[in-house]
């Protein structure tokens, strides 16, 4: 370690570019794309050779083989540009109301994600407030909140949806309930930690003001829990997107990103699966960074920004 720092600095033209995070991240992303292309060529080659054999084509050049493998209709692994083209065609070039528009499907998944996330966050905050204020709840509920996550609840997803359908509740709510279940947990755990984060000396100060429990909650506990809330909301929103997508799988839902995945897997439309997957990833990244943005603004205004 020390010997490295003592050696005279070697000035390479890329030193500035590669010392931060942006440069390395770009390089890694480029490497991943290269691997993707390579894998696409390799995985699609057997089928392409089959086509050539049936077409009676002999010694096809390597370049020809590569371009053909990257342009198959139903490839084993579609190439990045095929996915990009598919996403462009199904978002920008289709009407938003069209059944083939990914914007339409995303909005359906997004709405149940957001509804579930909202319900989960509210439930999580309420549970945390109860747990912090009642010893009975703390000791009896908290272990179950943790145990509830070791249960693969997604397995129940089909049943929740079928059962709720049977009693006449359909559409957004059943999917949102699955999202709620997945997202309340991180919020509860984070908020319990956050509501308990004020130090004894601060709680004592509130006592000398003869503040009631609710005043202490509003003026001390909730504000100091804000950083914890945002951190756990980031985890929660990602979980609720997963919940919404999985919630669309079992019932053979007709719309939503999960339905696109399912339809794609039924009809072997790999490009469709991959584009739905990438759009879901973009959605997740967008939601998480949106909450990150809110976090920065709120914490700055509260004077808590690091």
């Amino acid at each position: 370690m020390t010997s490295e720092t003592l050696s005279p600095p070697v000035r390479s033209p890329f030193a500035g570019l590669m010392s931060g995070t942006a440069g390395p991240v770009l390089v890694v992303v480029a490497a991943l794309l290269a691997v993707w292309y390579l894998a696409a060529v390799m995985l699609n080659t057997p089928f392409q050779r089959d086509i050539y054999k049936r077409g009676g084509l002999e010694d096809v050049s390597l370049v020809q083989l590569m371009t053909d493998t990257l342009a198959q209709d139903r490839p084993v692994l579609p190439s990045p540009h095929q996915v990009a083209v598919e996403i462009w065609e199904t978002t920008a070039e289709k009407k938003i109301t069209s059944k083939r528009s990914l914007v339409y499907h995303s909005s359906i998944t997004l709405s149940s994600t957001l509804l579930g996330f909202l319900m989960g966050t509210t439930l999580g905050i309420l549970l945390a407030i109860g747990i912090v204020h009642s010893r009975v709840l703390d000791k009896s509920l908290m272990p179950w909140v943790i145990a509830s996550q070791t249960i693969p609840i997604l397995a129940i997803a089909p049943m929740i949806i079928v059962v709720l359908n049977a009693i006449g509740v359909s559409g957004l709510l059943p999917k949102a309930l699955i999202s709620t279940y997945l997202s309340f947990f991180p919020v509860t755990v984070g908020m319990v930690k956050g509501l308990r984060s004020p130090e004894i000396i601060q709680l004592d100060l509130m006592k000398t003001y003869s503040a009631s429990a609710s005043q202490t909650l509003w003026k001390l506990r909730l504000p100091s829990a804000a950083p914890y809330l945002f951190a756990s909301m980031k985890v929660g929103v990602a979980a609720s997107l997963v919940g919404a997508i999985v919630g669309e799988l079992p019932t053979g839902a007709v719309a939503g990103l999960g339905a696109r995945l399912l339809a794609g897997s039924y009809y072997g439309q790999t490009v469709q699966i991959w584009s739905a997957l990438i759009v879901a990833a973009i959605l997740a990244a967008g939601l998480v960074s949106l909450i990150g943005l809110g976090e920065r603004i709120v914490l700055k205004r509260m004077g808590m920004a690091r």
Binding site: P24, V27, P143, A155, M159, I273
Partner: protein, 385 residues
């Protein structure tokens, strides 16, 4: 026996209100019909076993409310009384599905209030003996869990909820006992093959790549943000692709599990390997330790809390991944297959039995990892307490 001599502490306002209310309800409800069916109307006098339990509950509640009873006695008395009342209620309602009268629900509330009071007293108990303390901290959530099951049973039977919507826990239990070999085969297919193999490969490869990445700062800076991003993505969506590539049997499920468990392990291990302080590095340097020695003797042990964190997260993710992947296609065995087909055949009790097995497997798996963590990271403040 020190704790038995503990004097009765002043009751909290909640306890006072709850005990007074429960006492009032228990006395008043003796006038209401317990079973209120089309052709049958039963009162408390007609049901000797329930009358006995209610009488005991009234005596216990009155003693708790008006006499100064020691904490331990209050706990034991209220706990036993609430269970006696609850089980006599269940025994009474089972042959009269859907005919629960107002009196019945009043006694359900009384029994629940007694259980709450029991838990409240238990939570206030602070036994000095560590063994007793652990017992109490186990008994409280257990009471909560049992009450969840009791309420489920009572509500489903009392309101005659259709079996296809929600079966009572007793039927799920009977189904569990009736079809062990089917459930065992599913467990074997999903858990022993898909989950465990995928978990082992995913965690091991995440760990090894993390150690490689750690050697190259450039890769570390480049991979960590991507790893963090990927951890937030709905990776479960690769399930249909894996099923296409690796077929319907367990390898495709293991592949999904590998992908889902890889990134949490990678990110946590890389973060954990950076946990050692400058001063600790310097100490290793003064010992003339090389990279491998520093890694094995200092940095890996320091990273263990982070690694176990990933192992715990992954234990849950693995089970979810394998089950959801089975929704996209399986041979005719497996927990996910069982759940999705039995839903279609309206055998909801079988679905719940499968879920119970999955829940048990998931909890035990998590518990096992947590247990190993306590042994390995015995030095960590959170374990030393």
């Amino acid at each position: 026996m020190m704790s038995v001599a503990q004097p009765a502490a002043p009751k909290t306002p909640v306890a006072r209100i709850l005990s007074t209310g429960a006492l009032g309800v228990a006395v008043a409800a003796s006038l209401l019909a317990v079973i209120d069916g089309e052709s049958l109307e039963l009162y408390l006098i007609d049901t000797p076993s329930l009358a006995l339990a209610v009488g005991a509950a009234i005596v216990l509640l009155a003693a708790y409310r008006f006499a100064r009873v020691g904490r331990v006695y209050a706990c034991l008395g209220l706990g036993a009384g609430s269970y006696a009342l609850a089980f006599s209620l269940i025994a009474l309602i089972t042959p009269h599905t859907g005919d629960a009268g107002a009196g019945f629900w009043a006694y359900v509330v009384v029994a629940w209030a007694m259980a709450w009071l029991c838990v409240e007293e238990m939570a206030a108990l602070e036994p000095r003996d560590p063994m007793l303390r652990r017992l109490v901290s186990l008994a409280i959530p257990l009471t909560f869990g049992i009450w969840l099951l009791i309420l489920w049973q009572v509500l489903v039977v009392g309101f005659a909820v259709p079996r296809v919507l929600l079966p009572p826990p007793s039927e799920v239990w009977l189904r569990l006992l009736a079809s062990p070999e089917v459930l065992w085969k599913d467990f074997q297919q999903t858990f022993l093959k898909g989950v465990l193999i995928g978990y082992a490969i995913g965690c091991a490869s995440g760990f090894l790549i993390a150690i490689l990445v750690d050697r190259v700062p450039f890769l570390r800076r480049g991979l960590l943000p991507i790893g963090n991003l990927v951890s937030a993505l709905p990776i479960i969506g690769v399930a249909p692709i894996m099923v296409m590539w690796f077929g319907f049997d367990w390898p495709s499920k293991a592949a999904v599990v590998i992908i889902m468990t890889f990134f949490p392990m990678l990110v946590n291990t890389v973060t954990g390997l950076a946990a050692a302080d400058r001063i600790q590095h310097d100490l290793m340097h003064t010992y003339a330790a090389d990279h491998r020695q520093t890694l094995v003797k200092m940095r890996l042990p320091m990273a263990m809390p982070f690694i176990f964190n990933a192992l715990k997260i992954n234990s849950t993710l693995a089970l979810i991944g394998a089950i959801v992947a089975e929704f996209f296609g399986t041979p005719i065995v497996g927990m996910g297959f069982r759940i999705s087909t039995e839903v279609g055949r309206m055998n909801i009790d079988m679905v719940w039995a499968s879920i119970a097995v999955a829940a048990l497997a998931g909890s035990l798996f998590y518990g096992l990892v947590a247990l190993v963590e306590r042994v390995v990271t015995f030095w960590h403040p959170s374990v030393r307490g």
